[in-house]
């Protein structure tokens, strides 16, 4: 019975507390980190802007590592420029490299937007990036209209993880571009760090609801493009700048995520960090609707309810039926998942949503906030998870424990089709549910002395 109590207990979001084990890190060093660095989050956002080339202001390695990391996940071109700091740059400042870098990006890529992310190096030596941008614009010799739009995000990796970098960059983009003239009929939606498949789904859903919308950042195409037979220097797709400007005229905002947003159930004590939705609300008085990532029926219902209110329309038939089929699937497969224990990790927004979903289907989630993989591995000895639900980096734990890993989120470096994994809404939940159920059934079948043919 104690298990059941745990499942319904809200504090179980940071489990093990319930099992009486401290979640405090016992090692000074981070051992097999779960988190990545802030400029990676920034790069993901910039890849969701139409015509944008990211520039990482720092050493060459930052850009190259992030490119490699993203290419391995998305299997798509990810061109990110670097201002390529040398020893001299570090001593005398990065102005010259910055200008050279921007000029070379313009020559090679002809971008409409250049998204600049700082690094721990450029922040520590006190680089004045807004100053560099002004300087560049003042000395630009080409036609004024060929000057790209600049977006500058402060993303030193010693302040938070890639999730902070991501949110900071969404905010920086909105602050740079959003203008308010009037209130239009469109909705602005910030879906957070989700997959290209999720973004395509949200766009389809909003269209089915008949809601005009601006979705930011939209890398549904830029990071999951069709075969083009050309190497598109800047892949097609992304949220266009003119749309970003109109975010200030939205009638409402929806923002997924519960870590940074003060409106939902968790408040991250990160000081000054405001979300893009909060900023639009406080600056232009546009109602922000913060909500957790819609994973599971309850969270998706909340999302659909908000869309109903905003549009004045009922849930479209297609989506109502998807919910119905999902309930039907929950009923048909409830026994395979009930009472099972899942090890979770990843970005906090993602994990809290996944944990809520786990509880919705009777799975006990286990997650330690801020823990690295080695800590999770060690604590798994006590928790004894039945399966792992997370990105591919936890594979070694699943392998050691001989339990299934259901790959979700980012990064997935050891499987194919990561950009097409769908997590959100009734349809995404259905896909997740099917995968989890089948992984557990397969596990049982593989470990059975009898090779049975029916469930």
């Amino acid at each position: 019975m104690s298990k059941l109590t745990n499942i319904t207990d809200e504090t179980n979001l940071v489990p093990l507390q319930g099992l009486g084990v401290s979640s405090k890190a016992s090692y000074t060093s981070t051992r097999n980190s779960c988190k990545l660095c802030a400029p990676l989050g920034a790069s993901m956002v910039f890849k969701g802007i139409e015509g944008c080339v990211p520039l990482i202001h720092g050493s060459q390695g930052c850009a190259t590592y992030i490119r490699r990391y993203m290419i391995s996940h998305y299997k798509e071109p990810v061109d990110i420029a670097s201002s390529n700091f040398s020893e001299e740059t570090t001593v005398y400042g990065g102005s010259k490299n910055f200008i050279t870098g921007i000029n070379n990006i313009i020559k090679q890529y002809k971008p409409t937007v250049i998204g600049i992310a700082s690094t721990c190096l450029s922040e520590t030596i006190g680089e004045d990036i807004p100053g560099h941008i002004r300087n560049f614009k003042e000395n630009f010799e080409g036609a004024a209209k060929t000057i790209p739009t600049f977006i500058n995000a402060s993303t030193p990796s010693y302040c938070g993880s890639h999730a902070e970098g991501f949110h900071n960059t969404v905010l920086a983009t909105v602050q740079t571009l959003a203008e308010h003239e009037k209130t239009d009929n469109h909705l602005t939606i910030f879906p957070g760090m989700v997959s290209p498949a999720d973004i395509r789904y949200i766009k389809e859903l909003l269209n089915d609801f008949g809601i005009e919308h601006i979705l930011f950042r939209d890398y549904s195409e830029t990071l999951d493009n069709e075969y083009t037979s050309e190497y598109q220097l800047i892949p097609t797709g992304g949220t266009p700048v003119w749309k970003l400007a109109q975010m200030g005229n939205s009638k409402a905002v929806i923002e997924f995520g519960s870590t940074f947003n003060k409106g939902v159930n968790r408040v991250k004590k990160s000081g000054s960090l405001q979300t893009a939705g909060e900023w639009l609300e406080s600056t232009f008085y546009i109602k922000n609707n913060p909500m957790p990532l819609p994973i599971g029926i309850e969270a998706s219902d909340k999302f659909m309810e908000t869309l109903k209110q905003i549009s004045g329309n009922e849930i479209p038939e297609k989506h109502r039926k998807e919910r119905g089929r999902l309930v039907d699937a929950y009923v048909d497969a409830h026994k395979y998942v009930f009472g099972k224990k899942a090890l979770l990790y990843g970005e906090e927004d993602f994990v809290t949503a996944m944990a809520d979903w786990c509880k919705e289907i009777g799975v006990e989630p286990f997650w330690i906030k801020g823990a690295d993989f080695e800590t999770l591995r060690e604590k798994s000895e006590e928790f004894k998870p039945d399966f792992v639900l997370g990105n591919s980096k936890g594979y070694y734990i699943a392998r050691e424990r001989k339990i299934p890993l259901i790959r979700v989120g980012f990064p997935i470096h050891d499987r194919f089709g990561a950009n097409r994994i769908h997590h959100l809404g009734y349809r995404g939940t259905q896909e997740l549910f099917d995968r989890v159920v089948n992984a557990l059934i397969e596990y049982k079948q593989e470990n059975s002395p009898i090779g049975y043919k029916y469930l």
Partner: protein, 442 residues
């Protein structure tokens, strides 16, 4: 060549007697989107396969996260190298210094793993805030009685190649610090094979058959004790010369150990690697065994290679890899199966490497140093390449344009070195060139 930035024009040329040799050994150009990484990366990939040492990164989390288990370097024993340790510096550490955190981290991890040695990598940020990493290493080395080696690798202090040098210096601090009771006279060290997909073990088998004792395999399935004893070998056999030449030079200067540059890719170079070693030891019996081995392997694989050659003749390949010496082997290996190399480039090649490529390749072959996606995508279109051979970052360039691709980098899971590797290579080139999916991309 309008798609090549002015400052980079001299880093591109063609094969042919009258063509100029390209510039190289230059810092990457800001904004060019170089495929290179940084000093830290260079040092990390070289030291990574030392499997019984701790590898601790003093810096921000990204540097550690992006290099966690990055190379498929296999170990026959301990797997400490596959763990990613990082001091994960935070704002307060940057302001007040990260020394206490580093000191504590090293001590705790030594307690946890009891390693043979520890490599402490410094990153950009440490280079700026000025933590005295060397002092910390000295102190802990004294207290704990194992080598604690600082690897000074702030990313901005050069390119990936400079990181190789830093790694060589770090390894060199171990060399000569211990002598095993007995090291056979006819023994070699293997430098610059990273045991990707177990390639090193294939080579060990060959040398064993020839009666050569392999003393230390420094950069693949590497062991601290073997490296400490590396000065007792008679010869350093160096592959991936871009990374390991410097260590060989240091060992030659200090211990008088001669070095030999080899490659294990393709039949020609693989066979030369064995013959050259036998020749070095002036041992007829060893040479006879090498001949026997080579003959046997070649006669076994020739029918298969002839079959591949018949199918693949006329195909054109683009090569863009980390080191130019590998590119040279690839040109030869591809030629063996009827594939012509039309673009050959590398991140870190030297003037000598590029000169060799210029002589080796057919006239008109594009030769390029420190290239980028804009150039490479233009080149493959211009030269109508069918196949691209590179690493992870080159794959989308190939695939978006409709070229086959062969990963000849960290991520390969099938050995491509040795005779067996040559067959795997032919198989992979065939599979990627002949797939029926290309009918949908035309």
């Amino acid at each position: 060549m309008a798609h090549i930035l002015d400052e980079r024009q001299k880093q591109v040329s063609m094969a042919g007697a009258n063509e100029r040799t390209i510039d190289c050994n230059k810092a990457s150009l800001a904004g060019s989107v170089s495929q290179r990484a940084c000093v830290f990366c260079g040092s990390r990939v070289v030291l990574y396969p030392i499997v019984d040492a701790l590898h601790i990164i003093h810096g921000p989390i990204g540097c550690a996260a992006y290099t966690w288990d990055i190379r498929g370097s296999l170990s026959s024993g301990p797997e400490l190298h596959r763990l990613s340790y990082c001091t994960d510096l935070q704002e307060r550490d940057v302001i007040f210094g990260g020394e206490p955190k580093l000191q504590k981290s090293i001590n705790e991890l030594i307690d946890l793993h009891n390693p043979k040695a520890a490599f402490i990598y410094t990153t950009c940020i440490v280079g700026v805030i000025g933590d005295d990493v060397e002092q910390i290493c000295r102190t802990i080395q004294k207290e704990r009685g194992i080598p604690i080696i600082p690897v000074q690798a702030p990313g901005f202090q050069g390119s990936k190649k400079d990181g190789y040098k830093v790694a060589c210096e770090a390894i060199f601090t171990l060399v000569g610090t211990k002598s095993k009771p007995y090291t056979p006279a006819k023994s070699i060290n293997i430098l610059g094979d990273f045991n990707l997909a177990g390639e090193l073990w294939i080579l060990l088998e060959y040398y064993k058959k020839m009666g050569v004792h392999v003393n230390a395999t420094i950069t693949g399935d590497g062991r601290v004790d073997d490296i400490c004893n590396a000065h007792n070998a008679a010869l350093n056999v160096v592959q991936c010369s871009g990374s390991m030449n410097y260590l060989a030079k240091l060992m030659k200067d200090e211990y008088g150990i001669p070095q030999m540059r080899v490659s294990y890719f393709g039949i020609e170079d693989m066979s030369d690697a064995l013959y050259d070693v036998a020749r070095f030891f002036k041992d007829d019996d060893m040479m006879a065994k090498a001949r026997e081995l080579v003959t046997e392997e070649i006669s076994r694989m020739m029918p298969a290679l002839a079959w591949y050659k018949e199918k693949l003749t006329g195909k054109k390949a683009a090569i863009y890899v980390g080191g130019a010496f590998k590119a040279i082997s690839l040109v030869k290996a591809l030629r063996l199966i009827g594939v012509q190399s039309v673009i050959v480039g590398s991140q870190t090649g030297t003037t000598e490497d590029y000169e060799l490529i210029k002589q080796l390749c057919d006239e008109g072959t594009i030769i390029v140093d420190d290239s980028n996606p804009v150039e490479l995508s233009h080149f493959v279109k211009e030269k109508q390449a069918d196949i691209f051979i590179g690493g992870v970052k080159e794959r989308p360039i190939a695939h978006k344009i409709g070229l086959g691709f062969c990963d000849h980098n960290h991520e390969r899971k099938e050995p491509l070195a040795g005779y067996e590797g040559m067959i795997n290579f032919a198989k992979e080139i065939y599979a990627t060139a002949m797939s029926p999916v290309w009918k949908f991309t035309k």
